[in-house]
């Protein structure tokens, strides 16, 4: 699903250049649940941004579902993001004046899905994350865990090839974190490919594979025995 070969990325900081990614090689198969771990400054967020086409690489190759991702225009990147990717952020990033349902329906608007169908689909995804009753509520009326579930529903609504989650549990307490991980695991059980960036060990062990980044290189890449979040809920 994802193929990365010798990926380099550096940022210009005044006259200095900061080499963040120093040759990443990494593949993800369909249906995998991968945790990307590393301390801050290890390059994990940069890697996720490049995977999410929010940022471009300096050199190297990146194929997403066989499509080369290189030198994209803003417009093309937006199209690919809409078609291939779903995002879940640490700070939820829901639009505060839109209801839960409207937030979930938003990626469908950019897929030019009709209003009626959009609402039906969005309600269906809200139901899947267990928030059907909260459809008309604004984000400010939801708890952190509920907000993240709405955000996951929104990411799933576009039916993406890959779900990218950037510290999805970073702003949540452990109980809520496990609930969210439980949801992510269930989505993965349905055959969706998911990448989770985290620095929490317990969260990482709820994935099926852990990739360790340090100073811009992959130092460890191991398949693990998945811990089901269900046990802790």
């Amino acid at each position: 699903m994802i193929e990365i070969k010798d990926l380099h990325k550096s940022y210009k900081m005044g006259s200095n250049s900061l080499h963040v990614l120093k040759g990443i090689n990494f593949n993800v198969e369909e249906g995998e649940l991968v945790a990307i771990m590393g301390s801050s400054g290890s390059g994990k967020s940069t890697l996720l941004n490049i995977l999410g086409m929010l940022d471009g690489a300096d050199s190297g190759e990146y194929y997403l579902d066989g499509v080369p991702i290189k030198d994209l225009s803003e417009k093309k990147a937006a199209q690919y993001r809409n078609k291939f990717l779903g995002f879940v952020f640490q700070s939820f990033n829901l639009i505060n004046y839109k209801s839960a349902l409207e937030n979930v329906a938003l990626p469908l608007y950019y897929q030019k899905v009709g209003r009626r169908e959009r609402q039906d689909k969005a309600l269906n995804y809200l139901d899947r994350v267990g928030l059907k009753e909260w459809a008309t509520h604004l984000p400010s009326e939801l708890s952190g865990g509920q907000k993240q579930r709405v955000a996951i529903a929104r990411a799933m609504a576009a039916e993406p090839k890959v779900l990218l989650a950037d510290e999805p549990t970073g702003a949540l307490d452990s109980k809520t974190s496990y609930e969210v991980m439980d949801l992510i695991q269930k989505i993965n059980d349905d055959g969706n490919t998911i990448l989770v960036v985290t620095h929490e060990k317990d969260i990482a062990h709820m994935c099926k594979r852990i990739v360790h980044l340090r100073d811009g290189v992959i130092v460890e890449d191991t398949k693990i025995e998945q811990v089901r979040a269900q046990e802790y809920v």
Partner: protein
């Protein structure tokens, strides 16, 4: 523009950000409102001044003789100039081509006027048939003096509306009644009205009668003319000035007056006076425009300001939308679409409200020199369009910048 989904998205946003929308709308609507009211009053002043000048025919030229103030060709200063029929007839003959209407006038003095037992104190003026058009007197009953009356030195009189109200209130119409001027009965044949009461307190009789019956001889107290209408105002003024100068020169020569003697023969042209007022109202109009344009600029600045704040406030939202697959142009389009919609609706709202106010209140306004303030709809409409375009441009740059902001940066925005 006609994407229904986009419209729904805009309406959603507007509905859920009522205060923001309201403030933007108010700044636009008030700008338009102030401009329309200002322009309306500028026009009102123009109307008022125009009405002042409708009293006499706009192209009228009047000659008033005076007293010489300079020695010339052996004549002493202090000599009174007396116009005569000959002067008048020669002037008409000489400038025949440039004159539309003409009339000499004589003030009949030292006579007593009676109606029945009542003594009247109105001025008696001997005039020619054309005087009606020069004074712009409107006949409301009967007729004015005609050529026949002049030829036959008829004993007929025309009275003003005010005289009818004051003196002839007991009869149904003054027409057919007789007034007695120094023992001679004059039959009333017409009633006229004017803009001012003062000018309705006159009794007109044929000039031939005035001269023959009241010892006028061939004397004339003043002469009046109107000039034919020409295409535009500047031409009319030029024509009036030309005529005035020629006439003055002629009369000065006939009466042996120094060419630079200003007090001996005075020629007054309504057009020339009008020009001064017109340039004044022109300046007033210019001033109102200036203030109005400044108001609009303030409105545009206000709208731009609000757009900047709106875009800033929505940076994070824009980041989210981009992450979800919104194309840059769709972001710009969305922001502009909303801006255009809000400015257009509120602009037209302000326009309709202010024009309705002018329409309803305008005709009832009673201020000197302000008559029926109104505004040209095309001008007001254009202003709204200008404001909408300006608002769009003002919204475009922040929107464009917002769309260019890196998605990651935008998402970090608090």
């Amino acid at each position: 523009m006609f994407d229904i989904e986009r419209w729904q998205e805009i309406f959603d946003t507007i509905r859920k950000n009522k205060l923001r929308t309201f403030l933007t709308g108010i700044s636009v609507a008030s700008g338009i409102f102030i401009l329309v009211i200002l322009l309306g009053f500028g026009q009102g002043m123009r109307n008022g001044i125009e009405q002042e000048f409708e009293q006499d025919a706009a192209t009228s030229v009047w000659v008033w003789p005076g007293v010489t103030s300079k020695e010339y060709k052996g004549m002493n200063p202090g000599r009174r100039i007396q116009l005569t029929n000959e002067n008048f007839n020669n002037s008409v003959a000489l400038f025949n081509e440039t004159i539309e209407y003409n009339s000499p006038r004589i003030f009949v003095r030292g006579v007593t006027v009676n109606y029945g037992k009542e003594s009247l104190v109105y001025s008696i003026q001997g005039v020619a048939s054309n005087f009606q058009f020069i004074e712009n007197a409107k006949m409301i009953d009967g007729r004015f003096i005609n050529y026949q009356d002049e030829m036959s030195t008829a004993k007929v009189a025309i009275v003003g509306k005010k005289i009818r109200t004051d003196v002839f209130n007991e009869v149904e119409t003054p027409i057919g009644e007789y007034i007695d001027i120094s023992g001679i009965p004059f039959k009333i044949i017409g009633v006229y009205k004017e803009y001012e009461d003062r000018e309705e307190e006159r009794i007109y009789i044929p000039i031939s009668t005035a001269q023959k019956v009241f010892n006028g001889g061939d004397r004339v107290n003043n002469m009046s003319f109107t000039l034919p209408a020409v295409e535009n105002f500047d031409q009319a003024v030029a024509q009036a000035v030309d005529f005035k100068d020629n006439l003055k020169t002629y009369l000065q020569q006939v009466h042996t007056v120094a060419p630079d003697d200003t007090s001996a023969v005075e020629v007054w042209s309504a057009m020339e006076e009008a020009k001064r007022y017109y340039s004044l109202t022109g300046n007033i109009k210019l001033f109102f425009w200036f203030v109005g344009v400044c108001t609009i600029i303030a409105g545009v600045v206000g709208v731009s300001n609000i757009m900047l704040i709106v875009v800033k406030e929505r940076t994070r939202e824009i980041g989210i939308r981009k992450a979800l697959g919104a194309k840059p142009w769709s972001i710009i389009g969305m922001i502009l679409h909303e801006a255009i919609f809000v400015t257009a609706i509120s602009g037209f709202g302000g326009l309709i409200f202010s024009m309705a106010l002018l329409e309803v209140v305008g005709p009832h306004i009673e201020i000197d020199y302000v008559v029926n303030p109104s505004v040209n709809f095309t001008v007001a409409f254009t202003t709204v369009i200008v404001l909408v375009i300006a608002g769009t441009l003002a919204g475009f740059f922040p929107a464009w910048r917002a769309a260019r902001v890196h998605t990651i940066e935008a998402l970090k925005d608090e």
